[in-house]
């Protein structure tokens, strides 16, 4: 599975993809907010929205492939099933981890599944597309300390910030404000989305020459 290193021409496409992603996620979130659809984010009604978001990831990837004629990872037909299995495995893992973090095991099956689906869409799916299943698992397993190529680092940042967003979202759940949006998994799902949005924004900045230099100089915690 060839991992190619940074060449200047795909950087442009990636960057535009990232900018686009942060824009449409912002639009999507504000759409949800103003139409009070945020409350249904944990129901299967919003399944199509998630599938739409997943389709957007596919479109971005094919756009990227067609523009640059190269890819970090060549999808072979024989790997297809493996990658799908990896996605399913990660979906299940996220479900289990959510349960370990305190989510109900079965009583909110639908909600937890939707949360898991959202997180998979934003984390595992792009990784699988760009780097293939094996690398995805590896990146998931080295969340806390990762050493890879620059592109992989960008994706690692997205992965981390998305998970961090979902993690941070849980803060509002215990508060006794009795608002409907405090119910599991709404804050965590929204947190994951916001995390992914912020991550895309940051990565698009990082790919800009000037900012990249600036951040590398100052940041002690280069994520």
């Amino acid at each position: 599975m060839p991992v190619k290193y940074l060449t200047p021409d795909y950087s442009q496409t990636l960057r535009w993809n990232d900018i686009l992603t942060s824009m449409y996620l912002l639009l999507y979130l504000s759409f949800l907010y103003y139409n009070n659809l945020i409350l249904s984010i944990g129901h299967s009604d919003s399944l199509y929205n998630i599938l739409g978001l997943a389709a957007l990831e596919f479109i971005k990837y094919s756009f990227h492939v067609s523009r640059t004629k190269t890819s970090f990872y060549k999808h072979h037909a024989k790997d297809f099933i493996k990658n799908v299995l990896v996605l399913l495995l990660l979906f299940a893992t996220i479900y289990v981890v959510a349960v370990l973090f305190g989510a109900p095991i079965l009583s909110d099956f639908e909600e937890t599944c939707m949360f898991s689906l959202i997180v998979t869409t934003f984390t595992a799916l792009p990784l699988c597309l760009y780097f293939g299943g094996d690398n995805t698992v590896h990146m998931f397993l080295s969340l806390a300390s990762y050493d890879g190529s620059d592109v992989q680092k960008l994706f690692m940042l997205k992965l981390r910030l998305t998970l961090f967003g979902a993690w941070l979202g849980a803060i509002v759940i215990p508060l006794d404000w009795n608002r409907p949006w405090q119910d599991w998994p709404i804050p965590c799902s929204v947190g994951a989305m916001v995390g992914y949005m912020v991550a895309n924004f940051v990565t698009s900045l990082l790919q800009h020459q000037y900012f990249a230099k600036f951040i590398r100089k100052t940041g002690k915690y280069m994520l």
Binding site: V97, V99, L100, F101, G102, D134, N135, V137, H138, L141, S142, L143, A144, S145, Y146, D147, G148, W167, A170, I171, P174, L175, D176, K220, Y221, L223
Partner: protein, 1053 residues
Amino acid sequence: MGKHWCYFLFMLWFSYLIVSSILLFSRGFLLSKNAQTTNSTCLSLSEIPCIHKESTTLSAHEQQCSADTKLSYVFQNINSASDICLPQRARVVFVIIDALRYDFALYDENLKNPLPFQNKLPVINELLKQQPDNSRLYKFIADPPTTTMQRLKALTTGSLPTFIDAGSNFATNEINEDNIIDQLLRHNLSTVLIGDDTWDGLYPNRFLRKYPYPSFDVWDLDTVDDGVNFHLYPELAKNDWSFLIAHYLGVDHCGHRYGPNHSEMERKLTEMNTVIASIVERLDPSTMLFVIGDHGMTETGNHGGDADDEVTSALFVYSHTQLSSLHASATVRQVSLVPTLASIFGVSIPFSNLGTVILDALPLLNNSQVPEWQWSLFHLWANAQQMLTYIDHYAKSAPETFSDSTLQSLRENYALLNSKLFHVSDQPSFATFTEECLVFLGKLRETCEQVWVQFDSFSMTRGLLFLFLSMFFVYVITDGIPSNRLPEIFMSSFLTCSYFVLLVAVCVSIVLYHFSYVSSLTSTIFFSTGLVSQFMLGMLVIQNWELISLNWYDRSKKERIPNLICRLVLVFHLCGLFSNSFVVEESSVLLFLLTTVILIGSLSVGQGETKKKIPRPKLRLLLIAFGMLVLVRISMYFWRCRDRLEQPWCYETYNSFTSKAETTKLQWITTLITLALFVTTTKVWLRNCGNLNGYNFTVIVLKYAPTVLVVCTSGFWVLNRLPGDPKNKAIRPWQANVLAWTVYGVSFVGILVVVLKPLCVYVLPKEKTVEGQNIIPHLFHKVKRLFNEESRDDVPILCGLGTAYSAVFVSIGIFLTHLFALIHGDGVAPATVIMFLASAFVLIITSIIRLEKATIMEQLFEIPNMSLLVWVILSQYFFYGTGHQPSFPNIIWEAAFVGTSGVISHNYILGSLIILNTFCSQILMGFLVPLLIIMPFTVSVMLPTSINRNILERENLRGEVLLYERDGLMITVAFTTICKYMVCHGIRVFATMLAATIHCRHMMIWKIFAPKLIFEAIGMFVTLVVVNLSYLVLLRINFKVDQLIVSLNKRCR
């Protein structure tokens, strides 16, 4: 003095500083109201001289003037009502049905399927229907805390109970405030007590006759009630008493044991119905009957808080003579009972009373001369005068309590009423006056309620400051000074100087107190010692500042993401304490944080590995972490609900599928299987360590004691399950108790033996290795050779030296876990096993992480702050994981009856059982802190496959023998680790203290923040004790290992 003891002295000093700052703070924060010891006095009619309007002189003739004349004189001078006692109206039979909730006393004919507690007291309804003029039923509102002792205090003194009493239900202490029973004594009226012995503790030597019964065994529904019934009827026939107290506990105990929704409750209430009916039958015309509940109970049968269910109890009054009909009321407060009783008995209202006399509960006097309303007016006004006097008096003794404007407005209000008093001439004007007067009295009571808790900001800020500073300095010293430099610093004159200065400070405080410059000795000592300690610690930090800053600078270069996450976790962990909803939901929060830290920690291993391959050890580590997290997640099923109001989404798994005392078969089987598995696994572990060889006494204890413990524990549970119905007396309670005491004894002896003879090492003489072929293959790779090179042939082989240190702590842990399992009962026992296993997993995980990261031996002695954080969170989490909640109603009082029910009522034993139960996680984790240092070496011997080979090969790890080789370093690291552990716990206590200070006017302060503070503080004290003990145990093991090796070396030469 060796450095070991210097460290220990320093730890003691630090513990003292923490304790004293917390106590200093709580003196300011948990300040209770000042009890006023003044008594009310009054003149009875016979003592009043006859004064005619015409003349003011007394004469012998006038002494004999009639009572009527005196009465008319008294009613004209109503302004001095509180100085005069009217004649006694009746005697009172005072039946307390503990925890009689208001709806227990109601009767509803329309009810088709009454619940076990409904419609069970029909006699009250009949009396209300048949003799409406002679009986009254009120909703009787208690002030929280709704525990029996606080309620009895309020019911006899009429004052508001204070918060600090809430926790001290054990040591009942004598009441020194003015109260109705002392008032009766002063007027030569006598009281008889039958029932709950709490009364006897509150009022020793006050009763004409007393038949007290122990109140503590809440599993015993009948002994007290049968005893009361036995003595009640003979007493009713006598007439030398004026006040007969009969306190029934069955209903309350039934609530605690089974909850209100149980057939036993039906039985107890029906019994009470019979009791009331037969008392009414035997009542003579001059005697009244009061039936009261001291508090209610929640759906689960507990009480103590301020939920509606808990504060509403019932008051039923019955008298053969007609009751007054003036000013009917349906809801009265419990404090109002005292002035009512005082009016009935014709004694003065106790000095500290804040209740208002219940006018329509007073029986009529057959006196046609004086109209009914005039009597009532007299009592009401006496009541008002007494309360105002009390508040005036209190304001004088504690000037800060009431603001001047409040007092002024109260006095004006009183003066206004006083002027209106003389215009009351008939019943309608009396009615309007009563309304106004009652409003005024209510206002008085509320004024007191509001300002009752006054904070002493001086003590509070000192406490906060001292705690913060001492923790800060100690952290800087233990974290900043490198461990190779610590010994010389502590061996210097620093400690001697400090202790000397402390002594001087104590002496100065005593001198100051002696010459009464200061009012409180302990506060002064805490303050002065705290002050000089901060000074000394600060000096030490300043002296070594260069060293510290250099060390920190070096380390700051190695920052990584896990550290960032750890800090975030720590911040959340602390910030949560400032929000009431996070305190309420702390169990989930801790679970969340624990999972985070464990996951991040195990994911961070193996950095810089090859990109493609995921290293096997890492996968194995993740597997272990996963197992541990699953265990922790399972422990969620043992959480207890704090309060249904506070946690609306709380799904009470443990209590919901069982009635309170009985466990289901499934639970039972799980418990037994878990315990059996626990015994086997721990035994296998110890055997694999090689610590179970030979015929050493310790080894024998370790081999057989756990099995004995499990058998006894399950036997105890079986016996306790059998007498489900009270009639089955096949098994006497003491037989079950013997089993429980066996468990206590065996675990105590086990711990003692392990501490006294800590070596589970088997010295295999050289010859034996040949003949004992059959055991050797099994043992061989566990056997550690001594590092003695000279005489290879004579060197004995030692089994279990490689785990000599850890084996002791592990076995102490095992014994403690068995003990905890017993006192947690068969329902929650698996949680204690889970706690032990989870901590073992955490130890393994952190050790593997450290082994992976270390490149040289010395790095293994560095305890990362993350491991410490996990350990602290673990100890906090399993407080919840073993079914506790930081609120008083949720204290598991049942723990005190394990093996003691009906046998022992010694408060210290009962108290320590409850402490053992409540703070089991703090005790276990505190004891096992040294394992954080020891465990990497153990893991390197026991699980060599699960770690990278590098460090093993590079450093020739030989297990815990290395610890002995570097025992100086080990002890130093143990010292710093333990200090940091104390600091970590201390930070939490500090945060709760700060939260309590910030929220001191918060609505939830008494319900959430103050109990949290008290639980954290007691947990801290427990931790301090245990942690210091664990250090001593470590010293002991080290000493014994040293002895062994020295003697072996001698033998070999």
